[in-house]
Symmetry: C2
Subunit: 388 residues, 2 copies
């Protein structure tokens, strides 16, 4: 099979802002789809204005929007709306994450769209879905993390914090992506599109599944344990002799045996029945953490990681963002590409899935409305123009 | 179009453990695929043994494995291996996340599988991918969060913490899911499967995209701000008069205007040029947080949320896991289903994507090897049996 872009030939219209829809459609563009991002002429996507770090562009916007065409349309104007409708007639997919009620106010309620455009896959992202007491409420990543209980299992027991990675947004982007792909696969067989709704709140609730099971069945309410896990032990971060932090993890009784016997050289602990079962180790987490830290602080990071490798125990270095940017695991595996922008080429990561059969498309970060003229010329034949 | 399961008729073989592959294949089962989970007879999936919270089953295992068949096979035994090979001949998809090198040691290296089974979609999940200095290293969620810099943007500047939601695992599950679906869509057109590799480390690096852009382009290195965001302000958690915590978020200059003028009643702040631009508000975050907290502590949570709704400002309650389990937004929208287990029915959430055209399959949590006999009878005709 020759190398090809699996979504080549598909047209995706994006009525999007922030992270959840833009990350979804960026991955569709990575896979070869033509993504037409419809932005309001007055400023466009909010993330364009977060900062000017990337040669005048915002860090978020540059991350999420390369490979797309930007079309500036005011959907309340007749002229622009006709062009948008013409776009939808040719499109395979519409992804949207506007504020609650915004699509309906524009006369673009998803169910109506599906009736007008039977071929269309519509993925409508919202904060809280349709119905229920909160469906009118605006939703941002932090708000959904907080409402969904995620902050209460992160940090320390009396100091809930949010995940720095915007997991509600990114998780929603990835469920939206799989929804588009499920619907496209289905369309190959049925000949019809569909409407899929994805609510950020449902996404966080799904990601909380293990914690929900604890609560629903009378287990201990999971508490945050900083760098540790409420479910398995030992699992955490420990200081080293050379001033680094090593992270060590075990997730089974067998691994605990190897950690104690082969890494720490503590056959007495490996044989101690108080520590045989994971649940008992979880209860005695702090005792084990102290024993491990006493050992790690006597060794350098490199030595610990080499010994851990030999013992078959997972280890990592606690890196910061600067370390990640220079990480040899990314450079050695050629994970960086260059993408164009109005201000010159910038580095960007390749998308996580790798197949030698797939060509990844690396397009440009568009200026607001950069493709309005081209798209109008291509899709707007016979329609009103702004000069009429 | 009649309601149907979009992946009905597909056979998925899962050589899986923990979270990343099991969540991927659970969603394939939700969508109608037949998922055959191959587990080692000596204990099976590690997560079976984390705890016994759910009527004797572990919270993680019950969350991730309903709707699958469990087949206990020792792939180093000739008899079991013949059955496994027979399964692969009929399968559409193989998803695996064994330890580094384990597939190759079993003679199941993905590229060889693709040559033997041209119809097969193989998604191979690893910690660090193929090549580079770390490709031999074991990977768990915490290890990848730490190595990927995620802990350094979570918590407080001198106290990095991990996200309680296992984002490296779950993000990888969702990229694996979209990879399966992309490859199935592609197979409809090319007639051939493919091999896709997804590395947990690449997933976390992708999720760090905004932070990487800051570092790559000489912006400020993002620091964690507990419940806040390093990118936008005001955005955070504030105490209320009735002892609750309200979370408020703004992500644009327009929202800041509404927050200051309409919610706080502070036209002076709305007009103050020091706070006009997001970047300036980020630098003066603590001043704004103090002003907001002085106001929230004089009002009850319900009142604040009603006023925020009217002002068009997003708000949320800081919930814990118990709150989430009883959340009206889940019950009012019928987001709970019952799934069977060997110990009776238990509640489980429906998957996040909702389409009125899709039937969601809600199957049973399998006991280890519960379906070995059935699967052997169905796929093992003419093969050796364990009694030969």
């Amino acid at each position: 099979m020759s190398v090809h872009a699996p979504l080549d030939g598909l047209i995706v219209v994006a009525l999007e802002q922030a992270i959840a829809a833009p990350l979804c459609t960026r991955h569709l563009a990575d896979l070869g789809a033509r993504v037409i991002k419809v932005e309001h002429p007055a400023g466009g996507d909010t993330t364009r204005h977060y900062d000017q770090v990337v040669h005048g562009m915002a860090a978020h916007f540059a991350w999420l929007n390369h490979g797309k065409e930007s079309v500036a349309l005011d959907l309340t104007s007749t002229v622009d709306r006709q062009l948008f409708d013409a776009l939808l007639r040719e499109a395979d997919v519409l992804v949207s994450n506007l504020a609650p009620g915004a699509l309906a106010r524009l006369g673009l309620a998803p169910v109506g769209l599906a009736e007008q455009h039977p071929q269309l896959v519509v993925v409508d992202i919202s904060g809280y879905g349709v119905g229920g007491p909160l469906d009118h409420r605006r939703a941002y990543d932090l708000l959904i993390q907080a409402e969904g209980g995620a902050c209460f299992i992160t940090g320390e027991p009396d100091t809930p914090v949010k995940s720095g990675i915007p997991i509600a947004d990114i998780g929603t982007a990835l469920y939206a992506l799989s929804s588009v792909l499920t619907a496209l696969y289905d369309r190959e067989r049925t000949g019809r599109g569909t409407v899929v709704s994805v609510a950020m709140f449902d996404v966080v609730a799904e990601m909380m599944g293990f914690a929900l099971n604890q609560v629903l069945h009378g287990g201990a309410v999971p508490v945050p344990v900083r760098m540790g896990s409420p479910m398995v032990a030992p699992y955490g971060a420990y200081p080293t002799r050379d001033g680094e932090t090593v992270v060590l993890g075990t997730t089974s009784d067998r691994e605990w045996q190897r950690l104690a016997r082969d890494l720490l050289g503590r056959a007495d602990l490996a044989d101690d029945p108080r520590y045989t079962r994971n649940q008992d180790r979880v209860h005695r987490r702090s005792e084990l953490d102290a024993v491990i830290a006493d050992w790690t602080v006597e060794h350098d990071l490199a030595e610990i990681q080499e010994l851990a490798d030999r013992a078959g125990i997972g280890s990592a270095r606690l890196n910061d963002v600067t370390d990640l940017a220079a990480h040899p695991q990314l450079t050695h595996r050629n994970r960086w590409r260059r993408v164009e922008t109005p201000a010159g080429a910038i580095p960007a990561l390749l998308p996580p899935p790798i197949s030698r059969d797939w060509r990844i498309r690396s397009g440009r970060v568009p200026a607001l409305g950069e493709h309005t003229g081209v798209v109008r010329a291509e899709f707007g034949a016979g329609l009103l123009s702004a000069d009429d």
